[in-house]
């Protein structure tokens, strides 16, 4: 026998093995994809509209969007002045208050109410900074939702939202 024979045989074995491996990999696609959010969950995550008119100055309300708590805070003049007086560079996660609200709507802060430490829900209007206090591990946020003290590494995130009118926002 010439040396060509084993080469041809090896090629056949490698080709068979490769095709089988591709099949095994393709089989994993549905098995993995089925654990992602299904179509009804995605559809239920559509944007929601919130009427701001009933929210008094100094009041914070909690709504749910995509199963996440969203805090909407109607801030007082004092709270706005306080958070804007803090030197940005002194913050653990430096961000000016202006970057966390929408232009012309300085009184309205909309944040996802999930502590950036380990996912607990911070309590509104508590702690030393007129903002949020997380009961799990003591993280404290100011009235701009920025982390000021404690183990949380980042500010409370801002969800996607827009003002559809002066007294109505759409989240999502």
């Amino acid at each position: 026998m010439s040396s060509a024979e084993p080469t041809r045989r090896d090629f056949l074995y490698i080709a068979t093995g490769a095709v089988a491996a591709i099949g095994a990999a393709a089989t994993l696609v549905p098995l993995i994809a089925q654990m992602n959010p299904d179509a009804s969950t995605i559809a239920a995550g559509a944007p929601i509209e919130i009427d701001l008119a009933p929210i008094q100055e100094g009041q914070v309300i909690k709504v749910f969007w995509r199963s996440k708590p969203i805090y909407i805070s109607h801030r007082t003049k004092k709270e706005i002045d306080e958070v804007r007086a803090v030197p940005v560079n002194s913050l653990p996660d430096p961000q000016p208050d202006q970057a966390r609200v929408q232009q012309g709507h300085d009184a309205w802060l909309v944040v996802i109410g999930i502590c950036t430490h380990l996912g607990c829900i911070p309590l509104a209007k508590q702690g030393d900074y007129d903002g949020w206090f997380c009961p799990c591990h003591g993280s404290q946020y100011d009235a701009s939702g920025r982390i000021r003290r404690g183990p949380a590494p980042a500010n409370l995130p801002i969800p996607p939202y827009k003002f559809v009118s002066d007294s109505k926002i759409q989240i999502g």
Partner: protein
């Protein structure tokens, strides 16, 4: 084969590990070095196929449990949620439901192979009995799994099968109540069946380990039925048996894929797409096909207790085979009289399966009794006597000798016997079909649907027209609860735009709660489901004059008509899956004046396609009733076809994706099977054409 392994890994870490847990050696001795008879034919690959199917069922089952809810109010809808919303959910569920059928198909071939080649005989009795136990566990698992979707067939299967135990004298009723956890099949029953359906496959896997262990102690039987005597009679399991098994698993997977992607509901019953209703039993109760022979045996005995005894005996008798068969010759190849009895037995089993699917009346009852007798006669009369009177053909001295000898005459005789019996069976199947045709329900004409066949896809314009018919007419009485408005814009559907969906949804009012906790009505959004036209069944009855209009979400899969022999077989080949839409389209045009002598009950209408003819729905459509702006004929016939197509999409929204992916899967499997075939040929080349003959060398010196 037994005793300590001689396997020694080369890698230092594996050596260290092997000294502490010799699992690699176990795998090596069981699945690599294990000597397997060199003359095994392809019937021996079904053990591997069964392992593959068990793995598929466990994996898909675990996935389905992630989305299924075992509760009488939620189970049916959660299965539909899997079919509609879960990513690839339809595929996973069809893999699982058709996987059960494939599993049983493979196990029946595996059992028949063992019976033909005498694999139950010494020293393999324990191996065989373990197999019977696996089969019993499979039956229990399959039955409980069938209950979980909580359709009509699920519910009534659960009722009928659990009632088998009520035949037990004195304690029967107590046992049945205990099985149910209530006074009838209900939520406790569903929940315990769910728990056990999850548990039993792992018990099966455990017994399979024992089965394989016993196999590896006794060694495999083979077509010659003589035990291996030297190394010349065997080849190592890997690569020889491994590649051969893999090739046949790939072929079997093509058949499996055919069912899953092209005819996924052909083995199921349409009634199981009707939610369970404890107040109404479907007119024809039949179990899944794999239980039909035993169901026929049960019904053939006119006494309740004896019927149940016959049913269980027909399965348990398998465990006694090693002692009922008195012949010492294993392989049917060398037993001319046994062979005829065996094939008669196979035909009897298939015949019982057919009879089990037929109503218990007339010729079917008598034939069932005859076949039940023949079934038991095989075990209790034929096998014990044959061993005493039969003169076996001369056995080969060794496997090697059997391999070299060409078999010819024997095979021809067997083929002739089977062919003759199949003709008999065909005649039997044909005759009853004519008898049942006398029920005089008109057969719906077959419509040429755009979504039929392997490359079928919906006609978007037709779906939109069909939706218009639903919207303008049907929805006044029929709900479409499982569909959301968003579905109408999803790929593979009628193809409405997002804007059209928004404005369509806004036409409907759905209930919600406002901030003050009051129930309000608000405009529907695309994510909402279609609101039902009636608050409840009682209100529906008031409005319609007695009838409850069925929900239309899965109606196209919940309806059909009897196709009869031989169509139920040819339908699998030509992929006829449109009995539902054909029936619905026909029903729309089937209203007629009742023939003289036919008394219509009050508030009903005569329809020639409706079973028993008296339908509670008044003729819903008239010509020109629904406006078609695109110039399509505005006739009842066209409306019927359009709404039937729309309902087919509503029942099977991923039909297009299913057929598209199915084509890809089958092409892939054909390529894989082809490659495995050539790999198998290469691997086996030196065994089948021994090198000592070709080149004067010892084959074993190079084949490893």
């Amino acid at each position: 084969m037994t005793g300590p392994s001689t396997y020694q890994p080369r890698n230092a870490f594996l050596k260290w590990f092997e000294r502490r847990l010799p699992i690699l050696g176990l795998v090596h001795s069981s699945f690599v070095a294990y000597p397997t008879p060199r003359n095994l034919n392809y019937w021996w690959t079904f053990g591997g196929i069964l392992s593959f199917m068990l793995a598929v069922q466990i994996v898909t089952g675990i996935v389905l449990v992630m989305h299924f809810t075992p509760n009488v109010d939620l189970a049916f809808n959660s299965v539909e949620h899997i079919m509609r919303d879960v990513n690839y959910g339809w595929m996973l569920r069809y893999l699982h439901s058709n996987g059960a059928s494939m599993f049983f198909l493979a196990v029946y071939i595996h059992i028949a192979r063992g019976m033909y080649y005498g694999s139950y005989k010494a020293p393999r009795e324990v191996l065989w009995i373990l197999g019977v136990i696996i089969y019993l566990l499979m039956m229990a698992t399959g039955f409980m799994g069938y209950v979980l979707p909580w359709g009509q067939m699920s519910y009534w299967a659960a009722t009928v099968i659990t009632n088998l135990f009520s035949a037990i004298p004195l304690v029967g009723d107590t046992i049945v109540t205990w099985l149910w956890g209530g006074y009838a099949v209900g939520n406790p029953t569903l929940q315990r069946f769910f728990s056990l359906h999850y548990l039993l496959p792992f018990v099966i896997a455990g017994v399979v380990v024992l089965h394989v262990w016993a196999l590896h102690v006794a060694g495999q039987n083979n077509p010659a039925g003589v035990e291996p005597q030297s190394d010349k009679d065997t080849v190592p399991f890997t690569p020889y048996a491994t590649v051969k098994d893999a090739f046949f698993v790939a072929l079997f997977a093509i058949l499996y894929a055919w069912f899953v992607f092209y005819i996924p509901n052909s083995l199921g019953h349409p009634d199981n797409y009707i939610p369970a209703n404890p107040g109404v039993t479907p007119p024809h109760i039949v179990p899944e096909w794999y239980y039909l022979p035993f169901y026929a045996i049960l019904r053939s005995i006119p006494n309740k207790l004896l019927g149940v005894v016959a049913l269980f005996s027909s399965i348990l008798i398998l465990a006694f085979l090693p002692w009922l068969d008195t012949s010492r010759v294993k392989s049917g190849n060398y037993r001319p009289m046994f062979r005829i009895c065996f094939w008669v037995f196979i035909v009897v089993c298939i015949g019982l399966g057919y009879l089990g699917s037929k109503p218990p009346e007339g010729i079917y009852v008598i034939t069932s009794r005859l076949f039940t007798f023949l079934y038991f006669a095989y075990f209790l009369i034929a096998l014990p006597i044959l061993g005493l009177i039969e003169k076996p053909l001369p056995l080969p001295h060794s496997i090697s000798e059997a391999v070299l000898k060409k078999k010819g005459k024997a095979a021809k005789a067997a083929v002739a016997t089977v062919a003759g019996l199949l003709v008999v069976l065909g005649g039997l199947l044909g005759a009853p079909t004519r008898a049942s045709a006398q029920e005089e329900v008109a057969t719906p004409p077959l419509v040429k649907w755009s979504f039929g066949g392997p490359f079928g896809h919906f006609d978007r314009a037709q779906l939109q027209r069909g939706f218009k018919v639903y919207h303008d007419v049907c929805q006044n009485c029929h709900s479409l609860k499982l569909l959301s408005f968003r579905n109408l814009a999803e790929p593979g559907g009628p193809g409405f735009s997002e804007a059209q969906i928004e404005s369509l949804a806004a036409e409907y009012k759905v209930k919600d709660t406002n901030d003050q906790g009051e129930t309000i009505e608000r405009a529907a959004r695309p994510a909402d489901h279609f609101p039902p036209p009636f608050e409840n069944d009682a209100q529906a009855r008031q409005v319609t004059g007695g009838a409850i209009p069925p929900d239309m979400s899965v109606l196209a899969k919940a309806r059909g008509f009897e196709r009869g022999f031989p169509y139920f077989i040819t339908d699998m080949i030509v992929q006829y899956q449109e009995a539902g839409p054909d029936y619905i389209a026909a029903l729309m045009t089937g209203y007629e004046n009742a023939p003289s002598g036919f008394t219509l009950p009050p508030n009903t209408f005569y329809n020639k396609y409706f079973p028993a003819h008296a339908i509670g729905m008044r003729p819903p459509l008239t010509d020109k009733q629904v406006d078609y702006p695109d110039g399509t004929p505005q006739t009842v016939e066209q409306y019927g076809k359009d709404v039937a197509a729309f309902l087919m999409w509503a029942a099977e929204p991923h039909l297009e994706a299913r057929k598209r992916i199915g084509f890809q899967v089958i092409i892939f499997l054909i390529v894989l099977a082809g490659l495995l075939y050539f790999t198998k040929k290469k691997v086996w080349h030196e065994v089948e054409v021994p090198r000592e003959l070709a080149h004067g060398q010892d084959p074993r010196a190079t084949s490893m």
